[in-house]
Amino acid sequence: MGWNEFLFLLTGLKWTVALSAVGFVFGGVSGLGVALLRTSGIAPLERATAGYIALFQGTPLLMQLFVVYYGLALVGLKLDAWIAVAIGFTLHASAYLGEIWRGSIDAVPKGQTEAAKALSLRYVSRMKDVILPQAIRISLPATIGFLVQLIKGTSLAAIVGFTELTRAGNIVSNQIFQPLLVFGIVGILYFLLCWPLSLYGSHLERRMAIASR
């Protein structure tokens, strides 16, 4: 494997990072919305968001990408492959992060909500200033765990035909006929991306376990 092939893999890595970042940021914003609706106390909204979450957690990510990819084309939106998979990952992430953050919001002691209400804080301030800062702290290990899962998940964009790291690996391995070497390197690149995050996540988890003792 020459230098050019390696650079091509790095270009793929760049797209993997970009796709993960877009999915995480947009998925995070809409995931917050999902979590807030899920805990809103308004029954129809709670049921709808619960269904949304169950739908994404009960189906393979690959199918979600396929359905979004072909579904968007079907409603007449001629989108770049890149935009289509980005939308797919955003929806996926919004459901998973929504569920993680719902759990964290529920984990904040009820007394906090009651105290905020007693201080006559309105919903926005109650959430923004009292509940969410605590919930975010609680959710951090799981959120980072999901980020790792999302980065690994972007490899499935290769099957839809988007050239990120895994597909770049496919292309290179078809050129130079050394699949083991190529996928070994691809694996190492993913590992270098994910491992620090995983370590940070378990570090936070341990620290919280100690704090709660």
Binding site: M63, Q64, V75, S155, T166, L180, F183, C194, W195
Partner: protein, 222 residues
């Protein structure tokens, strides 16, 4: 929008798709069985007195958990022939699923074993229970109860992951769907339908696990 949905190819291919569901379930069950074996073996090595074995299990777990399944399955698919093993795509996929699931199972099972306090075992022995009774009643059952929720949700995830095995054309639902799609070009209809199939499969699995949990692991202890 002038596209008309047409489900005829899906209806024509329904027997094939249902067989594909069976393939998916079989793939998942074999993967789970292998994952449990690897998980238990890994925990024994992980807590052994032989340091290199501990490091190897640790490295294995970190490596598998921080790389995508798709890359793992490609790697195994190409590595096996070099190791002199010629396997069909489906057994290869089972192996990959087992290895992937096994890495997660090691961590989960280890947590369960660690959740049993030493004092519990000592108390059991002090009460005059047999070693076998202590293991069954004080170690195994509470440990299983502790790990059951995370282990089963990992299994549901494993079942959904089987769709990735279509990348090496193992026999399962997604690859059957891909064949129907490439014959008919009804991508949305085909994939939309099998998405629902997956939803049903994972829902049934979750209900099944919940039933087992309610039957065997519910308090008060039966």
């Amino acid at each position: 929008m002038n596209y008309k949905l047409d489900f005829t190819p899906v209806l024509d291919g329904l027997p094939d798709l249902l067989m594909g569901c069976l393939g998916t379930i079989l793939l998942a069950l074999c993967g789970m069985a292998l994952a449990i074996v690897i998980g238990i073996g890994g925990v024994i090595l992980r807590d052994s007195r032989f340091p290199p074995a501990r490091w190897m299990v640790k490295a294995f777990v970190e490596l598998i958990r921080n790389t995508p399944f798709l890359v793992q399955i490609f790697f195994i698919y190409f590595a096996l022939p070099l190791a002199g093993l010629r396997l069909d795509p489906t057994p290869t996929a089972i192996l990959a699923l087992g290895i992937n699931g096994g890495a997660y199972a090691i961590e989960i099972i280890r947590g369960g074993v660690q959740s049993i306090g030493k004092g519990q075992i000592e108390a059991g022995l002090a009460l005059g229970l047999h070693k076998a009774q202590v293991f069954r009643l004080i170690v195994l059952k509470p440990a299983l109860r502790a790990i059951f929720p995370s282990l089963t949700s990992q299994f549901v995830l494993l079942t959904l992951t089987t769709s990735v095995a279509s990348a090496i054309s193992a026999y399962e639902l997604t690859s059957v769907a891909q064949r129907i799609e490439s014959d008919s070009f009804r991508s949305f209809e085909v994939y939309g339908t099998i998405t629902l199939f997956y939803l049903v499969i994972s829902w049934v699995m979750m209900r099944f696990f919940a039933l087992i949990s309610a039957r065997y692991f519910s308090y008060p202890v039966k």
